[in-house]
Amino acid sequence: MTAVETTAATTGHRTVTGRLWWRPDRAGTPIVLALVLIVGSLVFGDSFASGRNLGNIALDSSYLLLIATGMTFVVLSGGIDLSVGSLLALSGVLTAYGAQWGTLTAVLLPLAVCGVIGLVNGLLIGTAGIAPFIVTLASLLFARGLAFAVADEGNKVHLIPADLALTRLGQARWLGLSAPVWFALVVFAAAVVVLNRTRFGQSTFAVGDNLEAAGLMGLPTARVRVLVYVVSALLTGIAGVLVAAQTQSGLPTIGEGRELEAIAAVVIGGTLLTGGAGSLAGTLAGVLLLKVIQNLINQVGTLTSYYQQVVSGTFLIVVVLIQSRLTRRRMR
């Protein structure tokens, strides 16, 4: 029983009904994606639209999807996580390193370490109040350094035995799709539920929207801001385990620049970098769009690798411009 329900105020009744005009917020990126897919199939035919090629795109997207999913939480909370590229390498190295004691350590060791680094990121940001950009930039350096340290400055590449359960799992295929794709999809689905249907998810939006207000509304802002970095680090950790299982090795050099790719995917998916608004569905579309475009650019055999860069940079800008035109979200 609340105080207000009884005040059935009969004084001035005023209608503030909203016109719910059609908002293509969510539709922008999928539309562009669909267009690109159609054009790609028309231009390149089977070399693009073959099951094998699409399967490759799916596999390549799966790691990015995992990372970008975590990144979506972080960006929605108003933060940014630059450490994911290095964490991917660190997780892979630790997976291979841990593999000498069996699958369980190979999985738990990297996740534990990534979790701790995510926690430290989160604490420095959410509790100590240091800017996310700089904290995660520092852990970008730190994680890469640690990865090199574990790999003896890169002198020793740890390998995962082919007969380990992890290897078989990582290289399995079900229904024509590689295992990492399935793992990524399951994690993604869980993330969608967490973001949209739990208090933590709702608080993530609120914290990114207006941190001060969220605090005054009684939300545990610090806890939310710590948790999103843990989520991001853990999902990146999972991606690292899968990469290692796929390649049967842990390389300390992989993942450079992945953070920017993940951020690009999130933003292309319509999530505001300032936080507070966006969706995981958009991120999924963003990831696929990036990877499909990359694949298409690769298909143009005549393009030298330098021109490929010019094209992909321009494409990124154009896609985001189109996306934001379609969305027409008022930015403040």
Binding site: G129, A149, Q309, V310, S312, G313
Partner: protein, 316 residues
């Protein structure tokens, strides 16, 4: 009325401005004590010369960050300017340098327009130009390193005036200009207002879009200048490695120097000190022959510590 408070920040306010000052002090003390041949004039000079490109880029970055923006394309802009130099060297050094700077300005115009008129988020707009400009630089240079034996260019890169290296002089000039711009010029005030509250700046009738474009152009030109400097010093233009990842060093220098990423406030001197701190860390690491992995972790620790000391101030 108590006098002017922001006009002349006293020593204490400056020092409180960040952990960057104590960090530099500690590192200097450590090196003087434990690094052989550290406290020599040539060594100090070397550190200044090496930090010059980063410092110049960082000052441009500080201005951009002051508008609540960010410019990731600075490294690629350096590469672009490096790629253009040898192509136009035939017309003489100065025309070539002008072309390189113009290219920086052009990148700035693209960035600024995307941010101002296209309403794109700066990090994404400049990420796009980062990728595209590096590609363009490689296309122009056909991906190859080009050696240049022009004496004038060599002078620019390696010579000194009155014992001060030309590149260091350039840093001082840029710093001075930036300090004056931020403190005394209408441009600086507009920039801070745009960064502090874009809507308010618009309603106060300020030319918001023009200010944004100008800031990115300044950043682009400074990055191009840094590209010219490092190319001149090296005697070779290498568009594939010129300025690689310098955006991260520059942003770190800015933030470590006490400028918040949320815009509306800028510390030029702090930025300079931030760049110097990063350079000192690198020097310490190399001169003590620490392995790469340790070096990275150490760098991470020092950055966090330096920013931790000044936390709260950046949030307020």
């Amino acid at each position: 009325m108590t006098g002017t408070r922001t006009a002349r920040p006293d020593v204490l306010t400056v020092l409180r401005g960040g952990g960057v000052y104590p960090a530099i002090l500690l590192l200097l003390l450590f090196n003087v004590a434990f690094t052989p041949n550290f406290a020599t004039l040539t060594n100090l000079r070397l550190q200044l010369v090496q930090v010059a490109p980063v410092a110049i880029v960082a000052i441009g970055m500080a201005l951009v960050i002051g508008t609540e923006g960010i410019d990731l394309s600075v490294g690629s802009t350096m590469a672009l300017s490096a790629a253009l130099l040898p192509l136009y060297l035939g017309y003489g050094v100065w025309p070539a340098v002008v072309v390189a700077l113009l290219a920086g300005a052009a990148v700035g115009i693209v960035n600024g327009s995307l941010v101002a008129f296209g309403h794109m988020q700066p990090i994404i707009a400049t990420l796009g130009t980062l990728v595209a400009c590096r590609g363009l630089a490689l296309v122009l240079a056909d991906g190859r390193l080009a050696e240049m034996f022009d004496p004038v260019l060599g002078t620019l890169g390696n010579d000194s005036v009155l014992g001060v290296p030309i590149s260091v002089l350039l840093v001082l000039v840029v710093t001075g200009a930036a300090v004056v711009a931020v403190r005394r010029a209408a441009f600086g005030r507009r920039l801070l207002a745009v960064g502090g509250n874009r809507a308010a700046a618009t309603l106060a009738g300020l030319p918001v879009n023009r200010t944004l474009v100008t800031v990115y152009v300044v950043s682009g030109v400074l990055a191009a200048a840094a590209g010219v400097l490092s190319t001149a010093r090296q005697g070779a233009a290498d568009p594939s490695s010129a300025g690689l990842l310098i955006e991260l060093s520059a942003i770190t220098a800015v933030v470590v120097g006490g400028t918040p990423l949320s815009g509306g406030r800028i510390r030029i001197l702090g930025t300079l000190m931030g760049a110097l701190l990063m350079q000192l860390i690198i020097a310490t690491v190399i001169q003590h022959d620490l392995p790469d992995s340790t070096a990275r972790m150490l760098q991470a620790g020092i950055i966090v510590a330096a920013v931790y000391v000044q936390r709260g101030r950046s949030r307020a």
